[in-house]
């Protein structure tokens, strides 16, 4: 075994000098949230870095809805889940169909549609929110879950189509030609050749759309307002309405709300990194 040279030690020290601040910077808001979640109210408000009496009681209050702000917690959790899954499924369906049509069937005008979609992708979502709010009102969908689902599909599908089109452009044309020679209809081509080959990208895009919808705050807060049909992030924002908000409960609910997307992200990281960053920015 070879002893490290002075230069190597110096290098390692320099890296640590970057790594430690990066770690602290990343963890502070998350640790602070966790700290509140396990602190009784007195400890949370005393500014300690570790509570004197760590407890899981806050979780108990949230799960049993034992506070005014939390009386609809489970309904809101359910709303978030349904909306995220519906938006994910619908985006996946619309985007896969469109990408297949543009990339494999070379539908006339496909390139044009692709450019329109890309254009939408670049319009900041907060700018579209204002007219979207009014439009949903005109359609009579305000306070209906469909308004949020459709808004999320609108926002997620341009990127979804774009990534899926990039991925399907890479599949060899010979596959389609061989399948057509064997007498496959277009639908069979789609179902038996295209979908299985696109699976990794489909997982990535489905995850992307589900997380986008689960995390959305602005549209949810504009489009839904009844306590029993809002999603969790809106409920979290509503905690701020009172001056003496129970912040330890707010952080506990926030922690619970943050866990599923983090878990999904890490579970599908393999697909996410390959599927999304490749498409995200091409130089």
């Amino acid at each position: 075994m070879k002893l490290p040279t002075l230069r190597e030690i110096g290098n390692e020290a320099k890296l640590l000098l970057i790594g430690i601040p990066v770690f602290i910077w990343t963890m502070i808001p998350i640790y602070h949230m966790f700290l509140f979640a396990i602190s009784p109210k007195e400890d949370a408000f005393s500014g300690k870095l570790w509570p004197d009496h760590p407890t899981l009681h806050n979780f108990h209050i949230v799960f049993y809805q034992e506070h005014y702000f939390l009386r609809d917690f489970w309904i809101q959790f359910w709303n978030s889940t349904v909306i995220a899954l519906a938006a994910g499924g619908l985006t996946l369906f619309i985007a896969t169909a469109a990408a297949f049509s543009i990339s494999r069937l070379k539908v006339p005008g496909g390139r044009w549609v692709m450019n329109l979609a890309l254009f939408t992708y670049f319009i900041p979502a907060a700018f579209l929110a204002v007219p979207m709010y009014r439009t949903m009102g005109n359609y009579g969908l305000l306070n209906n879950h469909w308004s949020l689902i459709l808004a999320m599909v609108t926002i997620a599908s341009p990127y979804a189509i774009w990534v899926l089109k990039q991925a399907s452009d890479k599949l060899p044309v010979e596959l389609d030609e061989a399948a057509v020679m064997d007498g496959a209809t277009t639908l069979q081509l789609f179902r038996l050749v295209y979908l299985p080959l696109m699976m990794p990208s489909l997982v990535a895009i489905g995850t992307y759309a589900v997380l986008l919808a689960w995390n959305e705050y602005l549209y949810a807060f504009l489009l839904l307002s009844k306590d029993t049909n809002i999603t969790l992030p809106v409920a979290l924002g509503n905690f701020l309405a009172a001056d003496d908000s129970p912040w330890e409960l707010l952080m506990t609910t926030g922690f619970i709300y943050a866990l599923p997307p983090a878990a999904v992200y890490y579970a599908f990281k393999r697909y996410m990194v390959g599927g999304l960053t490749a498409g995200a920015v091409k130089s």
């Binding site: 990066v22 808001p29 602070h32 907060a126 204002v130 599909v153 504009l222 701020l240 920015v281």
Partner: protein
């Protein structure tokens, strides 16, 4: 293979007047769902919004509203200063994370957390840390110095800086990740050759890393600027636009007008941003649809 087949298999491009092939019919059918969504939730709202904002009086009202002027300035500060700082840090960190070390690999897994968790709870967490009476930061300041800490979010400059900080915290991992992929694509023998020639750290960056990454870097910066225009959460949930509506950016200002039932003003404030947004969008589309 394709060439040998193409003799009688290839379908000659039909003149536009002729009947569509079954594949093309399916193509249109499969494209229809997206087109419907696009028409109903993009084209219609945008046209309707433009129609609402048509009266010149809106723009006069906007021009006379000091909150709008302030929001425009804040937006520019957010974009020009905030995004460039973020991208420089991302560029720097991409070099750090490209190092082959086990502990750096683990750190990169943790580093991605801000991007993986939803922004609402973490922004609210920061908001409470900055609370002048109960927040952990002022508690620490008090226990070290015996003085009361500042009322962080009550000063518009500090509050906007904090909002930019929250934005950086949230989206830094994403851009670092993108720049890492760019860095890893640089052929390694270039660096080895430079090493042999005794190039300094700066020379390696200046003559190898930067030339191969500058297109990606500029693309990322522009894209991040466009998206940051839509960053509603960082400002709204941290400062709520306050104190005294001095920390609004264009995205929160539009929603503020909307909540005050001044829909045409809300649309006008967005239309005003278009001369800034559309060239950026056009440029990005040129780049990405190549």
């Amino acid at each position: 293979m394709a060439i040998t087949l193409s003799g009688d298999q290839a379908i000659p491009a039909p003149p536009l007047s002729s009947r569509l092939t079954p594949a093309q019919v399916w193509g249109i059918v499969l494209l229809a769902p997206y087109l419907l969504v696009f028409l109903a939730f993009v084209v219609y709202p945008v046209c309707y919004g433009l129609w609402l904002a048509r009266a010149p009086a809106n723009y006069v009202a906007l021009y006379n509203d000091p909150i709008f002027a302030r929001a425009a300035v804040n937006t520019l500060i957010f974009l020009v200063i905030g995004i460039n700082i973020k991208m420089l840090i991302a560029l720097f960190l991409s070099g750090f994370f490209a190092q082959q070390r086990t502990w750096i690999k683990w750190l990169s897994v943790i580093f991605i957390l801000p991007w993986a968790v939803p922004s609402i709870p973490t922004i609210l967490s920061v908001r409470f840390m900055l609370n002048p009476e109960w927040g952990v930061i002022n508690h620490l300041i008090f226990s070290f110095t015996g003085d009361d800490g500042p009322n962080w979010l009550n000063d518009p400059t500090v509050a906007l800086t904090m909002a930019i900080g929250v934005h950086i915290w949230k989206s830094l991992p994403f851009w670092t990740l993108i720049l890492i992929t760019g860095r890893l694509a640089i052929p390694h023998d270039l660096f080895e050759a430079a090493e042999v020639d005794g190039a300094s750290w700066w020379q390696k960056f200046r003559f190898i890393t930067w030339p191969s990454m500058q297109t990606l870097y500029v693309t990322c910066t522009l894209l991040s600027m466009i998206w940051t225009l839509g960053d509603f959460n960082s400002v709204y949930l941290l400062t709520g636009g306050g104190p005294a509506d001095l920390t609004h950016v264009l995205s929160t200002l539009g929603i503020r007008y909307l909540r005050l039932d001044q829909l045409s003003l809300a649309m006008a404030s967005i239309v005003v941003a278009m001369p800034l947004v559309l060239p950026l969008v056009y440029f990005m589309m040129k780049r990405l649809s190549r």
